[in-house]
Symmetry: C2
Subunit: 243 residues, 2 copies
DNA sequence: TTCGAGGCTTGTGTATACACACCTCTCGGC
DNA sequence: GCCGAGAGGTGTGTATACACAAGCCTCGAA
């Protein structure tokens, strides 16, 4: 594997797993030494992270780990609603119904996975990822799939804010099952609606749990895509409204 | 300005303006010499292009200008519908109504801009860009704005396929005016619907004009985002269905 | 004591050199 | 005559050195 790939994967994991906190300055020399690569591949890794929105290039200070805040969370979920509702709708039109029916049944049985023996809930999250993957395959749209993929990186990072308890995960499993069921029935509007419901509940859950976040005022500006030379709006985002 | 920025901007323009055709191999040494920069900043430029989806990294052959085909166009417009409908909806909820009312009126008067003295239709496209910009400002969502911005690069490239005539542009202006009007009224569902109508008409227009495209079979795989190591699906996309 | 200017230090931006991998062409063997 | 292996060449991947810009600390003057 290329050194730049290793550096990218390592930094990406460190950010998603919160080993690198938001606001951390990613000095080229420092990170290059830490990861055991030279500055050239590290710069490529930083460029990819910046393009993905996990890091932000700041004038003079170099690249810093991008901020995550409740304010940005509303924005993130608005984009998520746009993409995932569309994806669910397309999957309902094009997907393999049997596959989604099977996923629905497994999701309905998911509460059994939430045992004390799996504190990481890895089995549950694997099942949710399987649904994501099935939707990806069903929509047959590279642009949309890759946008979703880019979004999921941010969502994995945000998951640490959610502090999902067993009750919430049971509810989420039911919501996922509803989505899978709607897709299995080929009911596109229902699939989109079920997705909207699920996202709304997810966001409300995170908001109810996480009232305060570190550094809500220092907005380094989130980014979900490469932005050539683009304005980073410092204003406060409004309340997200789903409907 | 940094050399990498210059290289990026230059290559980006060359691709969007079709001076670099799809499938063109962007050799590092060759392009570095052509643009008068060293390989290091050029590699950064190529990485940004690849992240944006204008170029695709191919194993062994380096980076090539990504392909554009009618098949991919349907996928692109599906993503566009997801993002722009959401954006229009949010703008209707949050936008400055007077601003959009003014835009609506100017768009209704836009057919007067389509004179023979402006074969590039630059005034018209500037007005359309102004609507985009107003929506961007109104939605107050950095994630969504940047996703839209990334999309517009591809749309500018595709515009060359559209061969918009005056009749189509007059119709498009009316559709844009409908969108602006719905936003001005604060009617979110109507704004989304008007956007869906406009996109559907745009896509159908392009399809009706461009039946055949160069190299529809050699699918180098489009990408609208950075993709770490991601599957490029070779299958043919289905018909886009809007509504 | 405070403000400003200048030098130092740190870090990014760029160029270039080197290593390695893959592709290709050719030659030899079957 | 065809297939395979090896050598050469092209091009990417990586490391490193150098230049420059920005920030900071310090020293001097008001």
């Amino acid at each position: 594997m290329k050194a730049s790939d290793r550096a990218y994967a390592s930094l990406r994991d460190d950010i998603v797993e919160w080993r690198l906190a938001p606001g951390t300055v990613l000095g080229e020399v420092e990170q290059a030494e830490r990861l055991g690569v030279s500055r050239t591949p590290l710069r490529e890794a930083l460029a990819r992270l910046t393009a993905e929105g996990l890091a932000t290039a700041q004038r003079g200070r170099g690249v810093v780990v991008s901020d995550v805040s409740l304010a940005h969370l509303g924005e993130l979920f608005e984009l998520r609603e746009a993409l995932e509702c569309k994806a669910a709708s397309l999957a309902a039109q094009r997907g393999d119904r049997a596959r989604f029916a099977a996923l629905r049944d497994r999701l309905l049985a998911a509460p059994a996975l939430l045992t004390d023996e799996d504190p990481q809930r890895s089995e549950y999250y694997a099942l949710a990822a399987e649904l994501d993957s099935a939707v990806d395959g069903a929509i047959a749209n590279t642009y949309l799939s890759q946008s979703l993929e880019g979004l999921r990186v941010h969502l994995a990072r945000v998951r640490r804010l959610a502090k999902d308890d067993a009750a919430r995960l049971r509810q989420a499993a039911a919501e996922h099952a509803a989505i899978a069921g709607a897709i299995a029935e080929g009911n596109a509007p229902l699939a989109a609606a079920a997705t909207a419901v699920h996202l709304n509940n997810s966001l409300n859950h995170i908001k109810s749990v996480q009232i305060h976040l570190p550094r809500p005022e220092d907005s380094t500006g989130p980014a979900v895509r490469t932005v050539p030379t683009h304005s980073t709006r410092p204003s406060a985002p409004r309340e997200a409204s789903h409907g």
